[in-house]
Symmetry: D2
Subunit: 347 residues, 4 copies
């Protein structure tokens, strides 16, 4: 059961709800959101008397939540949640386009892509400074230098930046440069990392693990949410199956299933979920048609020279075409591709 406090609830009102919960032999879990505080009462549900709480001062409503993911569930928040990301809004009914290279390889490469995807209509930049690579002998990313290049690309284009963080001790460094922290598929159940990005209070894009069920993904999101970070986007990026014609199998079902179970925004990454550039656009269109709130697409000016994942990257020209296709489908569904963020003027 979740007790949702009013916006203006005081610390002592919160404390007295907690005290009541504990007196009943239950455990209280407090989540301080940007606008509201929610208090979970965890334990044997039969002990809980809903009416006790609804009358306490400062309480807005009491929600009983049948799902194991509480803060992530639709029961907790029936409306789609949205939130601002430096200069752009993740908003229900709108389609967010994130694009950029798999890895930041050099200043010139990153700035070239950034400008190209900005021109094509993207709302945010992606690019890996720290790369999780299967082999210890492969290119592992430019690290801090990569973060600096991303910041420069943001300055150039006005687009917010999303980049992966791979270890709890790097969260504060990455958060200095990035607008959105990405948790990669391999780290979806790295709980120390989930806690750390929760505590960072930065927006997070959480990728589904390659053998994670939809429920696993929501439980991973719950780790972040329960550490007082409300700004979480989920990202379907394909699951591992027996099919070898594509790198992964896009679980397109996951889009409507997630939209029915959670209020969190749902993004599709058709680059990883297919693994071949020639299938990216078709699957990207499918994602929008299925109701995804956005796309994250790998774009590289010279895919044949990419240090990682070149085979699944679109050229800027093809990405620009995809943006048009997405706009048509979004409109056909009564949705919008919102305007791009405006670069801040230097004063």
């Amino acid at each position: 059961m979740m007790i949702i406090m009013r916006t203006e609830a005081t610390q002592s009102q919160i404390a007295s709800v907690v005290a009541r919960i504990e007196k009943q032999g239950l455990r209280a879990h407090i989540s301080h959101g940007a606008e509201r505080t929610a208090i979970g009462a965890i334990g044997d549900g039969r002990l809980i008397n809903r009416d006790t709480y609804i009358l306490l001062p400062g309480v807005d409503r009491v929600v009983s939540i049948s799902r194991p993911y509480k803060l992530a569930s639709r029961e907790f928040c029936p409306e789609d949640s949205g939130f601002p990301v430096d200069g752009v809004h993740v908003r229900p009914g709108q389609v967010l386009l994130i694009a950029g290279p798999c890895a930041v390889e050099s200043r010139s490469q990153m700035l070239e892509v950034a400008q190209a995807v900005h021109e094509a209509g993207a709302h945010a930049l992606r690019g890996g400074a720290y790369k999780p690579r299967t082999s210890p002998y492969s290119f592992q990313g430019l690290g801090k230098e990569g973060l600096e290049i991303l910041a420069e690309a943001r300055e150039l284009t006005g687009l917010p930046v999303i980049t992966e963080v791979m270890a709890p001790e790097k969260v504060s460094l990455v958060a200095e440069y990035a607008d959105v922290l990405q948790i990669g598929a391999r780290n979806m159940q790295n709980y120390a990392l989930l806690r750390a990005v929760g505590e960072s209070h930065q927006p997070v894009l959480l990728k589904r693990g390659m053998s994670a069920t939809i429920k696993d993904l929501l439980m991973a999101a719950e780790y972040i949410l329960s550490h007082d970070n409300e700004r979480v986007m989920l990202c379907e990026r394909g699951i591992r199956t027996f099919e070898t014609a594509t790198r992964n199998t896009t679980d397109i079902n996951a889009i409507p299933v997630l939209k029915s179970l959670t209020h969190l925004p749902v993004i599709l990454d058709p680059s990883h979920s297919t693994g071949h550039w020639e299938f990216v656009s078709a699957v990207a269109r499918a994602g929008i048609a299925a109701g995804a709130d956005g796309l994250m697409v790998e774009v590289h000016p010279h895919p044949e020279e990419a240090l990682s994942d070149g085979g699944q990257s679109l050229r800027p020209k093809r990405f620009a075409e995809l943006v048009e296709e997405v706009k048509s489908i979004a409109e056909a569904m009564g949705r919008k591709v919102p305007p791009q963020p405006v670069p801040k003027l230097e004063d």
Copy 2:
């Protein structure tokens, strides 16, 4: 290597190509299509001298095909193939809508659905007279009586009928009543049945097995094609994965992958591929956006009373809404939902 004969090639010209192939120590495989005969030269490819054949009388062109599925491959036929099905055309660029109940349960149920989906805009009717059921104790379908009801539904609406055939010895009976023979997922590699429907020369809708790779599906189609039946549609209906939130995992990647590998029409069955009616429309839209040539959707007037698969059936009203959604997306992509077949006048 495939040697494609001219439309007007004579039997003796064909025979002399075959003789040449066999003289080279290779095996000849003849496929008589409706319009052309193709002769495969099977064996060690290095032995084949392409130039030898191109000059033989009656030969149109010689195609070397690297794929193990020959007649199904894009190399064999670079254009999308289409074909007429009683009163309606399966045609590139058009979206075919097949709808109806999982099983024919009674005359009144089938006729009610048939009229409803006809009004909503469907181009063809589905309905199972023979049902493959996991349990020997479950309803196994009405059999011949079901076929008769389907024929009546066709007469009533003018819509062609598609229904499953489960055993070689039933092919001729089912073909008497049905316009399209469906091979179910469980029988995708039932080679005796594939041969039998090949030899029937009826249009076939071949469903992907639940653990069949895309290549397996194309090899199964090749069995039918190589028994002189060119009119094959492929149907993605979800694959088996670890995810349990849905009945199957729709392999949306398979749509563009199949369109790149084969010229055969590709249909999506979002009812089986999701298993829950509330996700059917989203995934149906995704399929069209990904480039599918059509949809096959389960519709039942009273899903709660259905003898099988009620939980994944749309009500007629929801199906009618889906038809509108599909039209919008198809138009956004420059494609069309074609007109419905016109009922034949009774003289």
Copy 3:
């Protein structure tokens, strides 16, 4: 609920049980076993009054079965079931060794393997006369000629023969030659075929489909059992997963799970479940250690020349070593590898 009749129950006693079931608004399903008749009462279980039946003449016992597979369940038959197969007994506590080539390729090949595996200690011969091949252009087996060769191999060695049947209309032909009818993985849910082998009353070896759950396998067995054929062996042959280092993934868990759910004998096919000869022996040993009732192993005198599946075939010498390893493990577990069948004397 199942009503098990006494051995000496009369037809009229059976008929009166059936009448009682139908009077209660339920459906009766009769299975005539070799020794007993079992009558299932199918429908709403709450309607069934157990006491009504136990007192009827000819009734031995009444068993309520919670599983959807009735005749296959341990609840129906708490003891492991065993049965004779021409000259050898499939018996609880004993380890049955079936060996032979993937396909019967020629008389000399088959007879050579047959003698070699007989000498090594096998109890039964395998060899495919009809081969389910992914490609219509691959070797499809010798057909009837292959059956005749198998019969000759049986005469030579005294070992019973197991071979695959792929279509209902071939069941009676194959049953003329083979002691055990094999249903291949691709046909596990070919219900017309399951019915046909059920009605043949020949022993059947039913292979698990490559994406069939354990429950699916038991439901498939139920089709055969419910068509009055009690002599069914189940065969684990690997399932399809994301792992590509081996052809399939041996589901070793399935051995103890099946032994807990069903009374039917469980065989492991380590050749298909690994797909590489170098892993066959290790997995074969594992199967016996996990409690399998037998093994089916591909053996070929010249694997490099095999027309199919050469890479997963053991040479006879390696098979003979495996037999010794299996004996050691079986003994360590208090089980036996039984004596081989004795060739019948020609009078």
Copy 4:
């Protein structure tokens, strides 16, 4: 290519090999093992002249390694590797038995289990102080207190302790108490953590991720090995498949496949790989029969009260029976269950 230095090679000899590698435009990767230093030459293999290196002072041998995992491969080290773990040897041909509860729940629980599994014949203790739990609201382990209890259990029994570490910043703390650091399945590709345990130079037990291929597992081991830690054991703990009768699917094939590809010891965890205590013993026996170097088994004195994974835990009595079964099978295969470590006397 790997250049293996002699035991007595000097720093300057190593430096001159590295200089030569870099001069050829390749990258040098140095691994300082306990007994030898290995230098990988990474880059375009065609540039490498093997003969150049073999003659350099201090070089023992030059090995060309075709696998992407270098230090983990059989090519690098053809013999099975073994190593001491406080008081017990992980040694080829011997079977190591690790047992204990899923989580350390209390001092009394842990000491009770420790004594019981010690009496039953275990060689090492397991028990989680930090628990990776799907839900943020579940018991997350006793943390440092759990480590102290484990140390006490080691003192009591003389058995070395293995426990999971979940975050890089906890590695030095856990290494103070534990003899072997466990990397859990969810962290198999947590590269920051792999590096940290590599640099700790403690023995590591690396569990296979639930959708990791065998190659992925070896690449993860390579991360640890390439950070100068030779003492790595691999642990198969089941993979995720469509089968739901068991928690995971034990990939028994992985045992012989790993033994063929790598020199590292291979352990099986039948508790997680089945998820049900009644199937643990059968699969444990199978693992040994397939060639595993050891087992890690969950044992709990009162499974029905366990805070996590009670359903897959054996009672001590059943574990003692399993030890006897394992001994019989190991002996039947010419292998040994070695003696237990002797508790150190307190002076």
